[in-house]
């Protein structure tokens, strides 16, 4: 699999093909529907990231210096973006995850989804993903 930077580039290229916002969001919705749903026994309070409006569950498993993330959200657009973040960061090296610059979010025009007012839990999710990586980095 590719590096974090390479996957980001891939995603930017994919999004460049879309003619308008509708195609873009249809794709995000599709990704949301396709995201493997987190195990129900992992949808627990400790894994819950509370946004003001939509909720995200995030689980991290550490193996051989890499982290695998699984996640879910009750809103489909949030879930689609969660799927993209997992595609970029899951199964990567802890050190790479911790220092990852997620510039692609801006480039594919999803910055608004990460603004504070959206309150969808995504900002906290990225923070959590990185915190897991930091915590496991020295193990």
């Amino acid at each position: 699999m590719g590096t974090i930077a390479a996957i980001q580039e891939e995603i930017v290229e994919e999004f460049n093909m879309f003619e308008d916002w509708m195609e873009k969001y249809e794709y995000i919705i599709e990704l949301g529907k396709a995201l493997p749903i987190i195990d129900n026994n992992l949808k627990i309070e400790e894994n819950l990231i509370k946004g003001c409006q939509s909720r995200v569950w995030l689980n991290a498993e550490h193996k051989n210096g890499r982290i695998t993330y699984t996640a879910d959200s009750d809103a489909i657009i949030t879930k689609g973006i969660v799927a993209i973040l997992i595609r970029v960061l899951s199964n990567q090296n802890t050190a790479e995850i911790a220092k990852a610059d997620l510039a692609f979010i801006d480039e594919i025009g999803l910055k608004e989804q990460l603004s504070q007012t959206r309150a969808n839990g995504l900002v906290s999710m990225i923070k959590e993903m990185k915190l897991y990586a930091l915590a496991y980095q020295n193990k």
Partner: protein
């Protein structure tokens, strides 16, 4: 009837494109847009009259003081209060409620009870919880019926000699329910308790007469009434405000200060410590004049027509579930669509240039009542039109198609 399409030309913010589409603004229950006259009044103040009030002997200070006090007179007329000193300027409804709740901390004790309701905005819940925590008083919560009306029978059963204060919203911000406050006020007074009404959603849509209502405290915000942000009103009966302890200490609110004993200023200054939002208060008068010139009954009639039309058109959408179908409602409609998350609908409507509100609307107990994470809320103001409702319905159908 008023023609909203003619009025909207006075609102500069409405004439812009959002995501390439003409903006449709349906988040008026959160904050209304401002007419040019209000914006001009703000800018005129800073261009011509700026000075601190109530202190300076110089020309500008007197000019600013006069204008500030003129707004107080306008508010008095607007709500038909007996006396201008019963009008306290605050930061907003939340601040007004906190001012009263803070005062009651030292008035109440552990034998006393405060009654609120399940349909309150968080700002009419939390200050009373804090008040009860410190005073030891008990908080009682009137339940809501499933249609979004208050359970008045339960309320009447709560009332007793122990009741000291009832704090109820006039109109629910999440459901649009108009509560029968006349009846609630009368019942409250029968047991000798006082009543505070959260009028944040009512003041922009209904005509107010605090004297006739015989209400003890009434709170509202300028920014939901076409006025500036950061300005609110607390109306209180003079005799009660005189007894209520001051909220914040500082300049303006004192008579004399010494280290032995400080005495407080008379009303309304006792509750207006520090330099207030002078420009905002001055410009609020322009907003009140705007409403008065149109006539609040005419505004209500026009908005009611929009509400009726929107409800009719929305009910044609498959899977629509209205949240709150109280018998008397005003200016807003809250709903969900089966199988869809309100947040997703909100995001897609924004892409189509339509500003609506989604989520729990700072009224989590209401969402808990219906066991839902939130609703989609469309709320109206005088500048909205039926054409905008049509655009919104088309957009909702498009979002529904994309999401299913």
């Amino acid at each position: 009837m008023i023609d909203g399409s003619k009025i909207r030309v006075q609102f500069p913010t409405l004439h812009q494109k959002v995501n390439g589409k003409e903006l449709v603004y349906f988040d008026n229950a959160a904050s209304s847009q401002k007419p040019q006259v209000v914006i001009d009044a703000l800018s005129y103040y800073y261009n011509n009259d700026n000075a601190n009030i109530h202190r300076g002997v110089h020309y500008l200070s007197q000019e600013a003081t006069d204008k500030f006090e003129n707004t107080r007179k306008s508010v008095r007329t607007f709500i038909n209060a007996k006396n201008s000193c019963e009008i306290i300027f605050t930061k907003g409804t939340t601040d007004s409620i906190n001012l009263v709740a803070n005062g009651y901390r030292s008035i109440l004790n552990k034998e006393d009870e405060i009654i609120i309701s399940e349909m309150e905005h968080h700002s009419n819940i939390v200050p009373w919880q804090m008040c009860c925590e410190i005073s030891g008083a008990t908080l009682k919560v009137i339940p809501m019926l499933d249609d979004g009306d208050l359970d008045i029978e339960a309320f009447e059963n709560f009332l007793s000699k122990k009741t000291k204060l009832v704090a109820i919203t006039h109109i629910s911000n999440a459901l649009g329910t108009i509560n029968p406050i006349e009846k609630i006020i009368t019942a409250t007074h029968k047991v000798g308790a006082k009543i505070l009404i959260d009028g944040a959603q009512a003041a922009p849509h209904t005509s107010l007469n605090v004297e006739k209502l015989d209400v003890d405290y009434y709170c509202f915000s300028a920014h939901k009434m076409y006025g500036p942000t950061g300005v609110g009103v607390l109306y209180g009966k003079e005799v009660l405000l005189n007894k209520l302890p001051p909220y914040q200490g500082g300049g303006e609110m004192i008579k004399e200060v010494s280290f032995e004993k400080t005495t407080y200023a008379n009303l309304p200054h006792k509750f207006e410590a520090g330099t207030p939002n002078i420009a905002g208060v001055v410009a609020f008068k322009a907003a009140l004049d705007f409403i008065t010139d149109l006539g609040i009954e005419n505004i209500a009639k026009y908005e009611d027509d929009l509400l009726k039309y929107a409800t009719e058109e929305l009910s044609k959408i498959s899977g629509i579930q209205f949240i709150g179908e109280a018998k008397k409602r005003v200016a807003l409609v809250s709903f969900n669509i089966k199988g869809l998350h309100a947040y997703d609908i909100g995001v897609l409507l924004d892409k189509m240039g339509i500003a609506i509100r989604t989520g729990h609307h700072c009224a989590q107990p209401i969402m808990e009542h219906y066991k839902i994470p939130g609703t989609v809320r469309i709320s109206f103001a005088i500048y909205n039109t039926k054409q905008e409702i049509d655009l919104c319905i088309t957009a909702i159908k498009k979002a529904q198609k994309m999401l299913t």
